[in-house]
């Protein structure tokens, strides 16, 4: 370790240089390990650094959040258990097999990069901005929210929360307004995920449209706040493909693309039953059969609404209201009756 008789900015610099994994390592997710922080603290305790210099070294190491030292083990094991919880939540989603596989691949990649960093091996810079393609109601937001938790527990994101926005939240009414609105949303998302639904709509209207200003602001923030948030652009497949093709700046910055296929009628029935179970209701066999018919018919229409979990949720919620109307005048409904959804509650779809 560099020895500095007198503390100075120079000495602090030398100390940092002697600590970094390699000279070209950038202060990012993995370039510094805890050992380096220990080195700063030791140097400080030995009286070779002022508190101000220690802070300036911390700053050079990047904003990476750390679990409190010592509580280490506790924190680590509760991180691990919360990670398991998030993965269980992912697994409990119906269908979405390819999505689940991809999430696990990303997780494995993140974890191995961390282990490599600990062994002082070269690491890839983690770029985790993503494009989600699929129809509405195919689980994009649900998956993004779970990913936030996974990234939080693996230390990639500080908070892992999800800020969900759409064009209207980003685009303003006059010059400069858009940049301001977009930056505000980014600020809220720092430490977590900024999820932009129907992101392709930012490119509608061409050059003069303020949507372009929003895109530029987003791209700039991705540089300015590297590693501090993850941006997910979501929307219909075709529109997103077109959007990516016509915005090369976007294409090069989003290495991960995930397709969310429509659900099959069987999957939709399972989703319906899951939603009902969570609310402590259940379908009687006639109702189940009827719902299946509606979903199959709907799927064969092949419109954007096919295979849609939101469609299912709407049917379920309306059925719950209709059941209430059916039972409200009944003297003493039994527990079973209060739980059961019948065919007539389902009605004819929406």
């Amino acid at each position: 370790m560099t020895n500095c008789a007198k503390p100075s900015a120079n000495c602090a610099k030398r100390l940092v240089n002697s600590m970094s994994v390699s000279n070209d390592a950038k202060p990012g997710v993995n370039s510094y390990s805890l050992r380096d922080i220990d080195a700063v603290l030791s140097a400080f305790e030995e009286g070779r650094l002022t508190p101000a210099q220690a802070f300036s070294l911390f700053r050079e190491m990047g904003p990476q959040f750390e679990a409190p030292p010592g509580q280490g083990q506790d924190a680590e094991s509760s991180n691990a258990s919360r990670l398991r919880e998030a993965l269980n939540e992912l697994d409990s989603l119906i269908g979405l097999h390819s999505v689940k596989r991809l999430v696990r691949e990303i997780l494995a990649f993140v974890q191995i990069q961390k282990k490599r960093a600990r062994q002082q091996l070269a690491t890839e810079h983690l770029v985790l901005h993503m494009i989600f393609k699929g129809n509405p109601g195919t689980g994009k937001t649900t998956v993004a929210r779970i990913m936030g938790k996974i990234f939080r527990e693996t230390g990639v994101l500080e908070r892992g929360h999800l800020i969900e926005v759409e064009r209207a939240d980003l685009v303003g009414e006059y010059i400069g307004h858009t940049a301001q609105k977009t930056r505000e949303q980014i600020r809220k998302a720092l430490g977590g995920i900024l999820f932009i639904d129907e992101a392709y709509s930012l490119a509608r209207g061409g050059e003069k449209d303020f949507g372009k200003e929003a895109i530029d602001t987003l791209v700039k923030s991705m540089e300015d706040y590297r590693d501090r948030f993850i941006l997910i652009l979501a929307g219909y497949s075709e529109e997103m493909n077109y959007f990516i093709q016509t915005n090369p700046g976007i294409r090069s910055r989003f290495p991960i693309h995930i397709d969310f296929p429509d659900y099959l009628p069987d999957e939709l029935i399972q989703i319906a039953e899951l939603m009902l179970k969570k609310r402590e209701y259940k379908l009687d066999p006639w109702a189940r059969n009827h719902l299946y018919t509606i979903l199959t018919k709907h799927a064969s229409n092949l419109d954007h609404n096919a295979g849609n979990a939101r469609f299912v949720r709407n049917i379920i919620e309306r059925a719950i209201r209709r059941q209430a109307v059916r039972l409200v005048d009944k003297e003493n409904p039994t527990r079973e009756e209060l739980m059961l959804i019948r065919r007539e509650d389902i009605g004819e779809g929406l």
């Binding site: 700063v40 305790e45 002022t50 508190p51 802070f55 010592g70 509580q71 908070r159």
Partner: protein, 246 residues
């Protein structure tokens, strides 16, 4: 649980703020967790391992020898092998008497309390961590350096940073409390992290108004909340800030 660290120069009023803020949130008593550095230093440090024995009190007691270590000592837990933690419950006014004082470096280890903040229908809890004051220069006392080192290491693990600056002495050159290098570096460090605000303290004292203005000028782009830790002024704003960051 989210961790909120309170830091700043010695005598800025950190401890008084923590205790009165707890009282402001309707706590009548506080249980303080003391995490003190144990003699055995981190590997590679040149500090004399005999320099400090485990039984010493964590705060320089301004009044008498009431040793906060007397209750429920729990060696080995807490910050890895180099700290030991113990708990003590105080009435707020007793804690103010025992743990705050006009001399710098009254607080010599991490002292945390758990607070409940109302959030919607429910409550959110936060660990508020009082720390040892940070000096501009290198302190000649190894024990105090070790205490400050705890402040440094816990700041990286904190979700929220409350940086207290003594507004009544902000511009007084030479005073330990005066704004200095370390304040600027803390602000620069916190800037890239978020969850940070400056509490301009002691606004009840003469000259503090100018001090607040000076702090605002020196730290543009940062949130500055004027407070009096003594009279609990500005605490509503602090509470709102903390809630927003939880």
């Amino acid at each position: 649980m989210r961790r909120c660290i309170v830091l700043g120069k010695p005598n800025a009023g950190k401890t008084l703020f923590v205790l009165h803020f707890a009282e402001f949130l309707h706590a009548k008593e506080v249980t303080i967790k003391f995490q003190e550095p144990v003699a055995a230093p981190r590997k590679g440090t040149g500090v004399d391992p005999e320099a400090r024995t485990g039984s010493a009190a964590c705060s320089l007691d301004p009044v008498s020898g009431s040793d906060p270590g007397a209750h429920g000592r729990n060696p080995g837990a807490g910050f890895g092998p180099s700290t030991s933690e113990h708990f003590k419950t105080y009435k707020i006014q007793d804690a103010v008497r025992d743990l705050t004082g006009p001399r710098p470096h009254t607080t010599r280890c991490l002292q945390s309390v758990v607070l409940e903040l109302p959030a919607g229908k429910g409550k959110k809890t936060v660990e508020l961590i009082d720390t040892s004051g940070l000096t501009d220069g290198i302190h000649q006392d190894a024990e105090i350096r070790r205490a400050m080192s705890q402040t440094l290491s816990s700041v990286r693990a904190a979700h929220i940073i409350l940086h207290i600056i003594d507004a009544s002495k902000a511009g007084k050159k030479g005073a330990v409390e005066a704004m200095g290098d370390v304040d600027y570096q803390v602000a620069a460090f916190a800037q890239m992290r978020g969850g940070y605000c400056i509490l301009a303290n002691k606004i009840d004292l003469p000259g503090a108004r100018d001090g607040v203005k000076k702090i605002r000028d020196e730290f543009p782009g940062h949130i500055v909340i004027p407070i009096s830790a003594l009279y609990k002024e500005g605490f509503k704003e602090v509470k709102a800030f903390v809630l927003r960051e939880l």
